[in-house]
């Protein structure tokens, strides 16, 4: 089994492990999630530096650097692993969701070099040395991205499962210049399915966020 390792003290922006712990703190400050939160952090020493003996894929594992949310993470990875599964199972960035694993729902949307793509159809090895941005990397500290704030304001979600994908898609939709009208927003957001049916609220959120983002630029 391949393992994620932090790239060491020289990596920029601090480790995602620390972010993970911070996120736990945030959870308990906001509302109490009754669940014990599983493994809060993996002790550094418990991470094998080499693959365990039973982990060979039959073919070579590939060593890659993944730049996720500004942090460079070193992975020793089976080429079969998608970017989605690398994020979720190796880097503990579970904000990006798997809804279909077939490119038919948009829940796994992330930004690759600033453009929205489906991480379920992207092999992790092909994302090497490229800038990956996930939902966890959108806010600046405690300050939400305008799209995140607008989704809360407009109730642009219910269960929240498609939401990370919707938000990553919405940010790109605005940046691409596809938020000019409600009709355009609807069409350019149609790659993100929402079974709870929050679509009209998502459209409202994008309109509000787009106006705010435009204001910030000018």
């Amino acid at each position: 089994m391949e393992q994620a390792t932090d790239s060491g003290p020289d990596c920029e922006g601090g480790s995602s492990r620390r972010q993970f712990i911070r996120s736990l703190a945030a959870i308990s400050a906001g509302l109490t999630v009754a669940a014990p939160l599983g493994r809060a952090a993996i002790p550094e020493e418990s991470i094998p530096q080499t693959a365990p003996p039973n982990s060979g894929s039959g073919l070579g594992l590939v060593r890659i650097n993944l730049k996720v949310n500004g942090n460079t993470r070193r992975l020793f990875i089976d080429p079969r692993v998608t970017l989605l599964d690398a994020l979720r199972d190796r880097l503990e960035l579970t904000g990006t969701k798997k809804g279909c694993d077939r490119g038919t729902c948009g829940a796994c949307t992330v930004h690759l070099d600033g453009r929205r793509v489906l991480s379920c159809l992207t092999l992790a090895v092909m994302a090497k040395e490229r800038e990956v941005t996930t939902i966890e990397g959108l806010a600046k500290g405690d300050e939400l991205h305008p799209v995140q704030a607008a989704f809360i304001e407009c109730d642009g979600f219910q269960c929240g499962y498609c939401t990370p994908g919707q938000i990553m898609s919405a940010v790109a939709c605005i940046n691409e210049g596809h938020s000019g009208s409600e009709r355009e927003i609807r069409e350019f957001m149609s790659g993100n399915l929402c079974r709870c049916g929050a679509y009209p609220n998502i459209v409202d959120a994008i309109k509000i966020a787009a106006a705010k983002m435009k204001g910030e630029v000018s």
Partner: protein
């Protein structure tokens, strides 16, 4: 109840977690030493497994185990519905070689990584002795039977006027008769979050993170299948990524995963694939509904007859009570008869899906009412108003709070119904034929026994806890709002706990009952906690209220006042060195259930356009007016109705699971072929609430809201399609080809054929 909090639009308290990707769903659990489970499923719909070759898979890198009927994990028969908190699957997998449906669990591969488990699963070779499955209405004729009961009544309910011998006599005696049959395919819930279980054993104690609508029910059912005491199991589910009914029962992959974790002594996580979501976690049954309405020329109903045939599986019975929950009660008629028969198919287990009974039943009833309106030459709104029922037919009890006629009136006004041209096909905009339609909405109000805990804490905050769930419905927020309202505190001071079977017991979140059930318990617990707080304050020497009489000290908005003193609860608790004081209370419905009927009502209005060349139907706008009692959170309530309507759009226009007759295989078990509405399919939806508290139902006056939005929507759309084109499509979904003229020599939907 203060109006400062209740009824206002409140942002979700869990919103920040959801928009930052930090809300942890069941499949997101990270565990030390975790392994990944991948299910093997049957590729025939009926027969026996003769052999399975797992040798290559077992030798595959990273594989920890391959469980099959030939190398099973011991699982026991599940609880039958009356025993279990919620009916679910009862036949445990891997205990024999029998196949009852395509996609049935026939094995579990566990490996170090998800990829290793998935790819090893593909290396297992299975030999079947296949038989021809039952997978169509025709094949099912031999497997038709009458259920023992339907929605707590007999399979056939007859309400006949004095002197009338049969419903058919009443129909024959009616001057006008509408006699129509509607069919619906199997529908699948398809929440965006696939079912997931992460099972972790600590000694003989099991912790399960499961995507479930009922942590308490899941605990009981999993324990029984594993053969252990339910006290040894804890089920956690703080967030559910959508459910719509399919996470309301325990499905067998969950205890199977737990059994594998026990055998391997390692945590196992199993997440269903989208394809497995079609065969392993339920569906809405296929239905044929035959409806006969008899009426006077003025539209007054004289007879309502509604016969339903719905499918079940060979392993599980679920009755989609499409007539018993709709035609049985919605309209006033001297003669009403509803009946239900079931047909067994070789499919996975059916289960409740958003607005069970009502969603499909209201499709046929409300389309038939539209057909009757046309027959009588009466406006559909007027027809419904004329036949509004004041008392529950056959029981002669009133509704606790019914404002359906007001829904029609407000809806018609907001929508601009008066502008509708009642002549089909009369309105055209460019290439598009435009039509308007309406329908009633209906869903029963349920309330179940529930417990909750309210806890004052020394830091000045309060905690509200109950083992309920938030399916995206907004329970996190509503509990906080009701807690804040009950305690007179700002919402920011309330911590909510839910989704944990260790909390005070609450029912499965289904049937739109969570808010109605849990909030009375919170209100009761809040009052008890206040009493305990005061008792503590007057008994402890360190308290400023020490020695005061209990009746002299009062609690208001977080402060204790009495004996000329005033102090907030946090400082009182801190002062006496107590971390907290808490109370747990249970609440349940009382005698009112005998005296009243409880339902939510509504009216749906919509406008569609149909392309006159190619037949696509697109919804243009929608107005919905809902009578659901007190609106607790205006923001999430609106979203709930919107979500129901969007579900209804899919049901009417694009959804439907295709079952192959010959193989019993679902032909479209994926999101590219099972179409649900996209953003571009959903127009602006105008939502209004009557907002009259139903305090007979519960102290808050709030009935459920999660399901009613879907009801009436498909019929309103179908009726609008008729108004646009003059065509009645009685077979859902309304696909373009069903609107094209028969025969290729008719080049277009022309004005002439729309007479």
């Amino acid at each position: 109840m203060s109006t400062q909090i209740i009824g206002k639009p409140q942002d979700r308290v869990d919103g920040r977690l959801k928009v930052t990707g930090r809300a942890m769903y069941s499949g997101d659990r990270q565990e030390e030493n975790l392994t990944y489970g991948y299910l093997l499923t049957s590729k025939v719909a009926k027969g026996l497994i003769q052999a399975m070759d797992t040798s290559v898979a077992e030798r595959s890198p990273g594989v920890a185990a391959v469980y099959t009927p030939f190398n099973p994990l011991k699982l026991y028969h599940g609880l039958e519905p009356p025993e279990g908190a919620t009916s679910g699957e009862t036949l445990p997998p891997l205990q024999d070689q029998k196949i009852l449906n395509y996609g049935q669990i026939i094995g579990l591969v566990v490996a170090e990584s998800y990829e290793q488990a998935r790819d090893a699963a593909a290396l297992v070779r299975t030999q079947y002795q296949a038989e021809e499955p039952v997978a169509s209405w025709e094949q099912g004729i031999e497997h038709t039977f009458t259920p023992e009961s339907v929605d707590r009544e007999k399979a056939t309910v007859k309400i006949l006027a004095e002197g009338v011998d049969s419903i058919d006599d009443a129909i024959r005696g009616s001057p006008l008769v509408v006699d129509v049959t509607y069919t619906e395919p199997i529908y699948h819930h398809n929440p965006m979050e696939p079912h997931a279980t992460t099972a972790v054993w600590h000694g003989d104690r099991l912790t399960i993170y499961d995507a479930t609508q009922g942590v308490i029910s899941h605990r009981l059912n999993v324990a029984s299948v594993l053969g252990i005491d339910e006290d040894m199991v804890r089920v956690l589910c703080p967030f559910v990524g959508g459910a719509f009914g399919c996470k309301g029962s325990m499905w067998m992959f969950s205890p199977l995963t737990a059994a594998a974790a026990r055998a391997l002594n390692r945590p196992v996580k199993t997440i269903l694939t989208r394809e497995q979501m079609f065969t392993l976690v339920g569906h809405r049954p296929a239905l044929i509904q035959h409806l006969t309405l008899g009426a006077n020329p003025d539209g007054t109903l004289q007879a309502v007859k509604h016969d339903v045939r719905s499918t079940v599986s060979f392993a599980k019975i679920f009755v989609e009570a499409a007539a018993h929950r709709t035609s049985r009660l919605l309209y006033k008629s001297p003669n009403i008869q509803v009946s239900h028969t079931l047909v067994r198919w070789n499919v996975g287990g059916p289960t409740f899906m958003r607005a069970p009974g009502c969603a499909p039943g209201m499709f046929s009833l409300e389309c038939a009412m539209d057909e009757l309106a046309v027959r009588c030459g009466i406006d559909p709104v007027e027809l419904r108003t004329k036949n509004d029922a004041e008392v529950y037919p056959g029981r002669n009890v009133p509704w606790s709070c019914k404002n359906l006629v007001e829904c029609y009136q407000l809806g018609a006004e907001k929508f601009g119904w008066s502008k509708r041209n009642s002549i089909p096909g009369a309105v055209q905009e460019g290439d598009w034929l435009v039509g308007m339609g309406m329908a009633s909405a209906l869903y029963p109000a349920h309330r179940n026994r529930a417990s909750a805990k309210v806890r004052f804490q020394a830091d000045g905050t309060a905690q509200v806890s109950s083992a309920t769930q938030d399916l995206g419905t907004g329970t996190w927020t509503v509990l906080a709002m009701v807690g804040a309202d009950s305690l007179g505190l700002p919402i920011a001071k309330i911590h909510t706990e839910l989704g944990d079977s260790a909390l005070p017991s609450a029912p499965t979140s289904g049937g739109s009952a969570s808010v109605a059930s849990v909030t009375p318990a919170i209100q009761k617990a809040a009052e008890s906690a206040k009493k305990k707080l005061i008792q503590l304050a007057i008994r402890d020497r360190k308290s400023p209220f020490f020695g005061a009489k209990i009746e002299d000290v009062s609690y208001r908005n977080g402060e204790l006042t009495g004996a000329g003193k005033s102090a907030d609860f946090g400082s009182v608790l801190s002062g006496i060195g107590r971390s907290a004081v808490e109370a747990v209370e249970m609440a349940a419905a009382g005698e009112e259930e005998e005296k009243y009927a409880f339902h939510s009502f509504g009216a749906q209005f919509c406008q569609v356009k149909v392309n006159r060349w190619t037949g696509e139907v697109r919804l243009q706008r929608m107005t919905s007016v809902m009578d659901i009692g007190t609106v607790v959170n205006l923001k999430t309530a609106r979203s709930q109705i919107m979500g129901g309507i969007v579900f209804g759009i899919g049901m009417a226009l694009m959804e439907g699971t295709i079952l192959e007759e010959k193989t019993g295989r679902y032909a479209n078990a994926n999101f590219a072929d099972y179409l649900i509405a996209t953003n571009a399919d959903v127009p602006y939806i105008d939502i209004h609430f009557i907002n009259k508290p139903d305090t007979i139902f519960n102290p808050l006056g709030a009935r459920g809201i999660g399901e009613i939005g879907i009801t009436g929507t498909p019929a309103a759309i179908a009726n609008a399609v008729y108004n646009a084109t003059g065509r009645r499509v009685r077979e859902f979904p309304i696909l373009p080809e069903k609107l094209l003229p028969i025969g290729a020599n008719q080049p277009m939907i022309s004005m002439s054929e729309r007479s």
